[in-house]
Symmetry: C2
Subunit: 109 residues, 2 copies
DNA sequence: TTTATTACTTACTTTTCGTAAGTCAATAGG
DNA sequence: CCTATTGACTTACGAAAAGTAAGTAATAAA
């Protein structure tokens, strides 16, 4: 079953598209920041050292275009921020798995 | 606990490094192919349309350097191929999670 | 009303990627 | 044995993406 295995099947275009999108430079860090409650442009920029305004803007637009984020103000927010859609929230498991791997298998070089 | 949550903590350099490495162009597809039993250079190239020899070589060298792959011949193999290390095998859960997400949330554009 | 901050946009440099051709060793066929 | 083919890279170069810096318009604060 597709949920529990990557099988021994052919090349998966869906998997490839997902890994090219989610794996793009800074994208992981941006989604991670939003998971951690940073919704405004400046808040996200503040927690990701090295990320420029230009690329943050580019990545946010991509993620909105792909239905992972949406720009809106939720209750209590004066100004609109970036929020995860249901599709975006579903990425949580992927990020948790990658985070766990990163912590357990540090860089060796 | 670090295993089950990405928490609401600060920026994680480990997570960032991991997502930049694993998320690099073609890297996901290459590891996926090796999980699916393709160990030789030409076999990997054959199952990933669009991937050139030059980048396959570059990505394989990177993954070996980071301890995710190693180049050796296992029993029964005449010639050496690329095999996942324990660190590389530990990525299985990440790929399964991403694969499941990709299948459940297809591109909308 | 000046100053500061937010959320971008524009311009330009550097790095990475894509495409193609070339190299060198190991079979395979004639 | 000689030539052809395949496998596994390597080199060269133009194109695309990312990095850096500066600029701008719209609030918000002093």
């Amino acid at each position: 079953m597709a949920q529990n295995s990557i099988g021994h099947g052919p090349f998966s275009p869906e998997f490839h598209a997902a890994s090219e999108l989610v794996g793009r430079k800074w994208t992981g860090a941006i989604i991670y920041a939003i998971f951690n409650g940073k919704t405004r442009f400046a808040e996200i920029a503040a927690v990701i050292p090295g990320l420029s305004d230009r690329l943050l803007d580019e990545r946010l637009k991509e993620l909105v275009r792909h239905g992972i984020l949406e720009k809106r103000s939720s209750e209590g927010e004066a100004k609109p921020g970036y929020h995860l859609t249901r599709k975006g929230l579903a990425l949580r498991g992927v990020l948790i798995a990658l985070y766990a791997w990163a912590i357990n298998w540090p860089e060796t070089e």
